[in-house]
């Protein structure tokens, strides 16, 4: 009996790998288990290799865990690509009709005749997915009725005969691998209560980001399909109109951001969701938004680059672009969500920051977080504080200065339709009234005003704090991360703490502007700091270096850009190597 297991199902894209794993995931949650998934899609629609990984536990999960304890391979490519990435004691299950295992394969392996059984029980090849599902349910010892009920629900629409056929396949699969000694160790303990997940939800990062946008007051979305952000556009298209908002599928990313800026200018809280290549296309208008001081939220669900890159793989390599990308110097806020749950709350925050500071806010997520599903508490919907752009009072309308130079840098704004004054907002350098102006004095003044907004926010972050600042007394080594590596790093830090080893951990959410004093305070007592990122050039390490004095603390960059997220083992190894 074990409390924690990682299962992988892999096979040809379009053949039911993901959907089979999804039903298994749902059955596990219905039985009270916590789940944390990871998906790897091919870039094509059919063919290519798809893999879904489901980690299940009787306890709360925060990372994808280690390699597979059980790998079910539907075809040869699945074996070729994934069979070597097994945890110690792991078992490979494969269909002998569609794959063979090399003679010197080091892990335990067993045949399961999915195709043969499917044909025998139902006459239909596709039933192999149900057999695979049922055999996994049997191996894991999850009470079968949960998965069985889901199978009935799935096929109810297609009529009684189809349901009966699939149940026949299910029952045949249930016992297919029973009794094998090598699988004894794969049985999962029952969770303390079957209703442990009751009232909780299974959501992906793209779903929580979309829900957070709704909660944050988003009422306009314009987007263009791009992997792995398309789901956000689809979600908003399906739901936002019922909330009184509008969604446009634009002809390209430039039109998408242009429409968002127009909508925001006219008073709607606007968002677009894209990935790296789309963000690049938007860069001119991001600068425009900054110059014309129009609030807008741009979600970047990062994928592997550069160029077309690896569209279905993850990476954290758009940071520098998010911070600087545009002509000239244009202040903007960069926020990075740290978990599936956090995507919801950072989406709300993105809108609030955009409104308060009248700046573009780039909200970074990534493919692994966008697509991964996990059990979580329902996102909070009560007592959500929303900020709105500040309007001028009546006295200011006399000689209305849209871009009034203020202490905070933020100028009260009118919205088209409001009476009493009007103004032009322009990408050209302008004076306080918005009229084009190129004098050196005006230029210096207005640039300082725009950047002052960033300084105001940085000061706010220093006093209010942001993200994780975990600095146990006596720790000599620290780890700094950003975005989706948070759960993985936490898991390692907490495990080490349990073993009496204290490692400090800093994981901010607002990456730009940086609260430099806060970062300095974290680094000062440490001998060494590891900056861990899923990219090649260490972008956040560079950003820290440019903005914070490191004095005597040694900085080590730990980078990988494999397209897969860091595992806890890899983080532990990095710490061990540099401790």
């Amino acid at each position: 009996m074990r409390n924690d297991i990682t299962v992988r199902i892999a096979g040809e894209g379009g053949e039911g790998v993901i959907s089979t794993a999804e039903i298994l995931t749902r059955a596990a949650v219905d039985s009270g288990l916590d789940v944390f998934t990871f998906r790897s899609y091919p870039a094509e629609i059919k063919g290519g290799l798809a893999m879904m990984q489901v980690r299940m536990s009787t306890e709360t999960l925060t990372s994808i865990g280690r390699d597979a304890d059980v790998l079910m391979a539907f075809n040869q490519e699945a074996i070729d690509v994934w069979a070597d990435r097994m945890s110690p004691g792991g078992v490979l299950l494969y269909d002998p009709r569609h794959g063979t295992v090399p003679p010197d394969y080091p892990f335990a392996h067993m045949q399961i005749p999915l195709h043969e059984t499917a044909m025998k029980e139902t006459g239909a090849r596709i039933a192999k997915n149900i057999i695979a599902l049922a055999s996994m349910v049997g191996v894991l010892d999850i009470p079968p009725h949960f998965a069985r009920d889901l199978v009935v629900k799935q096929f109810k629409r297609k009529g009684e005969e189809v349901v009966a056929n699939n149940l026949k396949a299910f029952d045949a699969g249930l016992g297919a691998l029973n009794g094998d000694e090598r699988l004894r160790n794969m049985k999962l303990a029952r969770p303390a209560s079957e209703t442990r997940q009751a009232g909780r939800v299974i959501l992906s990062g793209n779903q929580t980001l979309s829900m957070g946008a709704l909660a944050g007051g988003c009422r306009f979305v314009a987007g263009y399909p791009i992997t792995p952000a398309t789901q956000v556009l689809e979600f908003m298209m399906k739901h936002l109109p019922a909330f009184g908002g509008n969604v446009i599928q634009a002809e390209d990313e430039i039109a998408a951001i242009a429409a968002c800026l127009g909508a925001s200018y006219a008073g709607a809280k606007a968002m677009t969701a894209t990935s790296g290549p789309g963000l690049c296309l938007m860069s001119e208008l991001i600068g425009m938004a900054s110059m014309s001081e129009i609030p807008v939220v741009i979600a970047d669900v990062m994928r592997s680059g550069p160029g077309t890159g690896m569209p279905t793989k993850t990476e954290q390599a758009d940071l520098m672009y998010a911070i600087h990308g545009s002509a000239g110097e244009s202040p903007r806020i960069v926020l990075a969500a740290t978990s599936v749950e956090d995507c919801y709350y950072q989406a709300i925050r993105a809108f609030n920051l955009a409104e308060r500071y009248q700046l573009p806010v780039i909200l970074l997520s990534d493919q692994s977080m966008g697509y991964r599903t996990k059990t979580m508490d329902r996102p909070r919907t009560d007592n959500i504080h929303l900020d709105n752009r500040v309007h001028p009072d009546a006295a200011a309308l006399e000689d209305y200065k849209r871009f009034a130079d203020t202490d905070t840098g933020v100028s009260p704004t009118m919205t088209p339709g409001m009476e009493g004054a009007s103004y032009i907002t322009s990408g050209l350098e302008h004076d306080e009234w918005g009229h084009a102006s190129y004098t050196p004095e005006n230029r210096a003044r207005m640039t300082a005003k725009r950047f002052r907004k960033m300084e105001t926010l940085a000061r706010e972050l220093e006093t209010e704090g942001d993200g994780i600042f975990d600095a146990p007394a006596g720790a000599e080594i620290g780890i700094i991360g950003w975005g989706s590596t948070e759960g993985t790093i936490r898991e390692v830090v907490e495990k080490l703490r349990g073993e009496g080893i204290n490692v400090a951990h800093y994981h901010p959410r607002v990456l730009h502007p940086l609260p430099a004093n806060t970062v300095k305070k974290f680094i000062a007592p440490l001998k060494k700091v590891i900056v861990l990122e899923e990219n090649y050039t260490g972008q956040f390490a560079q950003h820290l270096r440019a903005n914070v004095e490191f004095n005597g603390t040694e900085v080590v960059r730990v980078n990988q850009c494999s397209g897969l997220p860091f595992t806890p083992d890899e983080v532990k190894a990095a710490l061990a190597q540099h401790a």
Partner: protein, 286 residues
């Protein structure tokens, strides 16, 4: 009507900013015509929103009293669509030149035609890039010598009207900037048409275009003959492609197209029937 109920005159729609155009620029005529049209319709200045692009013509938005967004080169049309979607009560205009609208901005036009927002787009066409000092534009004539066509332009010009008609734009008109009254009427008709309306305004550049001059155009423009049925697309094409006449007036008008606003409203109703309206109900779906 102003907020106090006083009748607004054309000059009441002019901003305090002096135009930066060269003396004799065709855009002056368009500006005058525009203020006349606004006065004829007595629009509230707070309801006016002009989105303009980059170029001499793009500066237009600075010279009108009302809300304006002077955006990046070629992107005024999708920006204006965003404005109109967020607040359909606004009277939204797009103003820009031939380079802004037909070169860098050209890709947005067919999609604007498909969506059909109730927006009026005035393309101030001088067949040259003026602000950058004299390069060819998509409407520059064959053989024209410019700084980027020193041996004479070899590509034929784009035919804007043919393009607009092909895209299915629901209101297509052309005017000539020195006919201020005529342009004012066209602009008003464009505004009154429910849907995406394009008015191509030939506005000669005296500084950089010595081929398409006022005199050159004056000799060639002729009003569309009486009896033209603007709902007849074939007739509209024939007028637009006529090799012997350069017509001005309303070429085509289609009042049967649903507007973007109508369609978004329909989408909202359909969605409200099928999808949750509260966040809690939505989360429970998952």
């Amino acid at each position: 009507m102003s907020e106090e109920g006083i009748l607004l005159k054309p000059k009441d729609y002019k901003a305090d900013v002096e135009p930066i155009w060269c003396p004799g620029c065709g855009d002056f005529g368009d500006l005058a015509a525009f203020t006349q049209a606004l006065a004829a319709m007595q629009l509230k200045t707070s309801d006016i929103c002009i989105v303009s692009g980059i170029g001499c013509s793009g500066r237009f938005s600075h010279f009108i009293k009302g809300y304006a967004y002077h955006t990046a080169h070629g992107r005024a049309v999708p920006t204006a669509i965003g404005v109109k979607t967020a607040n359909p009560k606004l009277k939204v205009f797009v103003v820009g030149g031939d380079g802004d609208g037909l070169s860098i901005g050209g890709g947005h036009l067919p999609h604007a035609a498909r969506r059909n927002p109730d927006i009026t787009y005035m393309i101030l066409d001088n067949a040259i890039y003026g602000l950058t000092k004299g390069q060819t534009s998509p409407t520059s004539p064959f053989g024209m010598v410019t700084s980027t066509s020193p041996t004479g332009l070899e590509d034929p010009p784009l035919d804007p009207l043919r393009m607009f008609l092909s895209y299915g734009v629901g209101f297509v008109a052309r005017g000539f900037s020195s006919d201020v009254k005529g342009v004012a009427k066209l602009v008003q008709a464009a505004v009154e048409h429910r849907g995406f309306s394009i008015v191509q305004l030939i506005s000669p550049c005296p500084t950089f275009n010595q081929v398409i001059t006022f005199d050159f155009m004056k000799e060639r423009v002729v009003p569309i003959p009486e009896g033209h049925d603007p709902t007849d697309i074939d007739a509209a094409f024939r007028l637009a492609l006529d090799p012997d006449h350069y017509y001005t007036g309303v070429f085509y008008r289609n009042d049967r197209l649903a507007t973007m606003e109508d369609k978004l409203e329909a989408q909202r109703k359909a969605t409200m029937d099928r999808q949750p309206r509260t966040l809690d109900a939505l989360i429970s779906l998952y």
